[in-house]
Symmetry: C2
Subunit: 220 residues, 2 copies
Amino acid sequence: MSEMNLYDAMSTLRAVRRLRPDPIPDDVLHRVLEAATWAPSGGNVQAWRMLLVRERPLKAALGALYAERWAAYTAHYRELMAGQPADAIERSERTLAAGNHLAEHFADTPAVLIFCFNPQHMAITDSEQDRPSVVGGGSIYPAVQNALLAARAEGLGCVLTTLLCQEEPKVRELLEIPDPWYTAAAVPLGYPVAGGHGPIRRRPPEKMTFSDRWGKAYQR
Amino acid sequence: MSEMNLYDAMSTLRAVRRLRPDPIPDDVLHRVLEAATWAPSGGNVQAWRMLLVRERPLKAALGALYAERWAAYTAHYRELMAGQPADAIERSERTLAAGNHLAEHFADTPAVLIFCFNPQHMAITDSEQDRPSVVGGGSIYPAVQNALLAARAEGLGCVLTTLLCQEEPKVRELLEIPDPWYTAAAVPLGYPVAGGHGPIRRRPPEKMTFSDRWGKAYQR
């Protein structure tokens, strides 16, 4: 069992999209699943489930759906990036190349975790607001994040993807997901082809935080 | 800086609602904020922000809104619990009593973190599905979970709450949150009155996971 420090795990959790086909030991997978179960959820109801997909024909079918959506996403993304500084474009192109690799090798990934949820067992407190609802996600993505952090601690590459939600009816049919359960994320898991996790680039707290009121600078 | 092991932090992260008014050192708060920034987000856009609320009048105003919604929630919750086994009801009553304490002491909490988001900078891939959208939350709640885990490692009590989303227009006005930013969570932070974090009760992986297809048992 990994003895990784919490902050070390968080500060080196990258989106790793180049994964080796080598199998993942059952005990390692189990620790990732258990970490997910520890997450908080609204009313502690745990109205979410995981599908641990390892059968190759299922992964291949998911991969075909994913590749189609990924192609559309990359076209849109390149439009957004046009006119950005050269170093930002170069970073984006590296990300897109890694994403292409994932899309092409989805079936080779040793495991894909599909996170499902039941909105009927959630108190979605922002359902009446005149903007996209997110609060249902508050009972799912903490578990996804726990799984990602555990994967990182175990040396597994992983990435949080949501593109397959665009193909949810087909995914539900393929994996026999019944009403009223839906899909929130797909997390491919596998040992990294290259370096995998490492230092990450994020905005610092001073750029992500306001003090008391919007616009009032936060300083440590 | 806390050297807590990742799995130890995850497996002992409780919802702690009885918090002491003692101030939190700036460096400790900063580590919690930084942990949040490390979280993944869609396209790495980080379309979320934190408001670190410490001014007492603001906390008092948030607390008044929270207490009203909490009272309605507890009434509904007791209806749902009617007929449950006695031990489940006893646990729920303990949770409700702790929630009452939080609602009554919101202004005394040394800090409340309000997580905000901008849906215009999110690719919400499930927006066309005929069920509540959750995917926007995939770019917010991983950061919330990181903050909770960091708080736990620092010995701070904390709890993920979303009740204030029901009062979002008032919260936005109070904290001067502009369009198109909205609120996803409020996390009170403070040192625990009593034991605080500790072992948690969750369904095991075997009850939360299916293998390949819905309904097919997962075994380690």
